[in-house]
């Protein structure tokens, strides 16, 4: 027993010392403390690290330009490992121990579903930059995101393709034994119905199929102007190759699963004419995006991706709100002031013009805020994406 008491006493002392040190260094460093919880290790680390890089780049720029009304931003970064439990722990630490003014993260929608209710209950803004699932922002009015969902992207992809390529009727092909491709199909179906686009035939395939020619031959006989394809690249690329072999040359309209540069390799020789929508594109030559790409490449010696761009923009969006907040020193009051200022922010950054859109929860009451942003629609030609306006 004595021994246990001794150990407990030592660890208490250690925690106290660490807390004291933390407070001391923070007081000297920065005035606005923002919590970041992203997956910096584990399976989702490739996304989480891009996101962190985007945040750090934005904060560096903001602080170099004088900060927020003279106050510098300090990031407190936690690794939530892409796990629900860790995301909850990280949020609790950032909210109660680090006393952050607002939170960014977590990386995955699953984690957001678990951890965001804690932020909502603590009345602190949580801002997701990569959560695209349904039912995140319906958690409550303190939940914000600037990530664009597939339900937002697909209607725009179809509309743009229909206008530019003069598409009047489409065939649909999707994988019916995969949650992601099936949900992509549901979103496509809704968008096609909303736009009153006739569907000539709907065909399916299963994971691991090697031959899609039966479906494609049938599709060809219905003479569509385009094929709407909800597939992962593993099946999507062979589908494009086999379609071209059958003389089926109409464009493909793909979902998020087809939005990868690997299509140029896996469907080599048959990769032209694929339409995809995305919140960000490296080919988008706006001044804001060029500035971001140059600065990011200089700082990290690698090209940015969509996740870095969305995080970078999110930090600027939050900063716009913080500029309008008069900090009182009362943490609870200041956190509520951020929540009040954020919805009105309008910003044009690396991903283009952005504003928030209020969403309703299941009972129809107003809840959190989704992204209101036009995705970028591109087509494949040669080895590149070309942006279509």
């Amino acid at each position: 027993m004595n021994q246990i008491h001794g150990l407990a006493r030592i660890s208490c002392l250690a925690i106290a010392a660490a807390t004291a040190l933390g407070v001391a260094s923070a007081a000297q460093a920065a005035d606005i403390r923002i919590g970041v919880a992203e997956a910096l290790s584990g399976g989702a680390a490739q996304y989480g690290i891009s996101i962190r890089n985007g945040f750090q780049l934005a904060v560096e720029e903001i602080n170099a330009a004088g900060g927020v009304n003279g106050n510098k931003i300090e990031l407190v970064i936690e690794d939530e490992q892409g796990k629900k439990e860790e995301a909850i722990n990280a949020f609790k630490k950032l909210i109660f121990q680090d006393k952050a003014l607002m939170l960014f993260g977590p990386t995955l929608s699953n984690s957001a579903q678990a951890a965001d209710p804690i932020a909502q209950a603590s009345k602190i803004v949580v801002f997701g930059t990569s959560n695209t699932a349904d039912g995140i922002t319906t958690i409550g009015d303190h939940v914000f995101r600037n990530s664009v969902t597939e339900a937002d992207v697909l209607p725009v992809t179809i509309k743009t393709a229909a206008r530019v390529a003069n598409i009047k009727k489409v065939a649909v092909l999707y994988g019916n034994d995969d949650v992601f491709t099936k949900s992509g199909y549901d979103n496509f179906k809704k968008a096609l119905d909303d736009q009153k686009m006739p569907i000539t035939t709907t065909e399916t395939f299963a994971k691991g199929d090697v031959d899609f020619k039966a479906q494609l031959t049938k599709i060809k006989a219905t003479n569509p102007d385009a094929i709407v394809l909800s597939a992962l690249l593993a099946e999507g690329a062979p589908i494009m190759v086999q379609a071209r072999q059958l003389g089926l040359t109409v464009p493909f309209i793909g979902g998020n699963g087809m939005n990868s540069v690997k299509v140029f390799d896996l469907a080599k020789g048959a990769s032209d004419g694929l339409w995809v929508g995305s919140p960000w594109s490296i080919e988008n030559r706006t001044p804001q995006n060029n500035g971001f790409i140059v600065a990011y490449t200089k700082k990290y010696s690698s090209a940015p991706d969509q996740f870095a761009a969305q995080a970078y923009d999110a930090m600027h969006i939050a900063t716009e709100a913080l500029k309008k907040v008069k900090l009182s020193g009362d943490l609870a009051k200041d956190r509520e002031a951020v929540q009040a200022a954020l919805p009105a922010v309008k910003w044009t950054g690396a991903t283009g013009a952005f504003s928030f859109r209020r969403v309703n929860d299941k009972s129809g009451k107003p809840a959190g805020y989704d992204a209101n942003q036009v995705p970028i629609v591109s087509t494949t030609r040669g080895k590149n994406y070309e942006i279509e306006k």
């Binding site: 019916n176 065909e203 299963a206 691991g208 199929d209 090697v210 031959d211 020619k213 049938k218 690249l233």
Partner: protein
């Protein structure tokens, strides 16, 4: 459209038959359902891919390399795993379980070496364009797969029926003990069969990998499942049966997509398979009393 669908069915059927030929050979001679055949199929495809991308081998050499490489893997499996089990007279479920484990190990190994993402053969290696024959789009590869599967079936059947080697193999299939008493080198022929069957699995991996344009560590899994259905339908261990049953599955799948709907494809194809087995429980060519080679 009907002509195109019939041709699609023929080439898909030959894809299934190609895989099933090696699979059924092992069962016919060794009496083992080798569930690592799907992984061997995948190993063959990756062996050829490595030969083409790293050693810049032409396609014929890559196929030969895949045959030898997968064959050697099959031979090692027989020597290291199946032979000790035979020696101990293990019940026939034991080698089946052992080969499941071997398949998993090979999948993980290839995933570790090459990564889980899809790869493909360089497109320059084969003409990708289609020929138009009587209004039907046909690729060189499809013709190749159809030709190879029929040639292999013929060669295997002639070998088994007409040659001294075939007689010895059939004797082993009847009873390894009796064959040994007759002076047949039973272990030697087991090795030969394991090598040839795995080698054929490797070749089908290359051809089907070229066909689907998608190489990934688990590519053998769906093929293995369909392959099991095909060799059961054909009559376990029967070469001609494997060929016919492969074609049967191909036609059933394609025609159900064409006339019923792709959502119902597997239900229709495997429903038909079930009906055939109700009428002929030993498969199309399986006989009730004896096991055939």
């Amino acid at each position: 459209m009907l002509e195109q669908q019939l041709f699609n069915a023929l080439s898909l059927g030959c894809v299934y038959a190609l895989f099933a030929l090696g699979f059924t050979l092992v069962f016919g001679v060794l009496g083992v359902i080798n569930l690592s055949q799907g992984a061997i199929f995948m190993v063959g495809a990756y062996a050829a891919l490595t030969a083409i991308t790293q050693l810049h081998a032409p396609l014929w050499a890559a196929i030969l390399f895949a045959f030898v490489f997968s064959g050697t893997v099959g031979l090692l499996i027989d020597r290291i795993v199946l032979k000790p089990l035979r020696k101990r007279d293990a019940p026939h479920l034991i080698p089946m379980i052992a080969t499941i484990g071997l398949g998993l190990a090979m999948n993980s190994l290839v995933q570790g070496l090459f990564g889980a993402e899809n790869q493909r053969f360089p497109s320059e290696i084969l003409p990708q364009d289609s020929l138009q024959i009587a209004g039907v789009s046909v690729t060189v590869l499809e013709l190749g797969i159809i030709l190879v599967s029929f040639v292999l079936m013929t060669v295997l059947m002639i070998t088994l029926k007409k040659t001294q080697l075939g007689r010895a193999l059939r004797a082993i299939a009847e009873s390894p003990k009796a064959a040994r008493l007759l002076g047949i080198n039973v272990e030697g022929l087991f090795m030969l069969t394991s090598f040839a069957a795995a080698g054929l699995g490797g070749i089908s991996g290359v051809l089907i990998g070229l066909y689907s344009n998608a190489l990934f560590p688990l590519m053998g899994q769906p093929m293995l499942h369909k392959g099991i259905a095909v060799i059961i339908l054909g009559g376990m261990g029967d070469i001609r049966g494997a060929m016919l049953a492969g074609l049967f599955l191909g036609f059933a799948e394609v025609l159900s997509v064409a006339y019923i709907g792709s959502n119902m494809r597997d239900a229709v194809a495997f429903g038909l398979l079930f009906l055939v087995l109700l009428v002929r429980p030993k498969g199309l060519f399986g006989s009730v009393q004896e096991r055939k080679v």
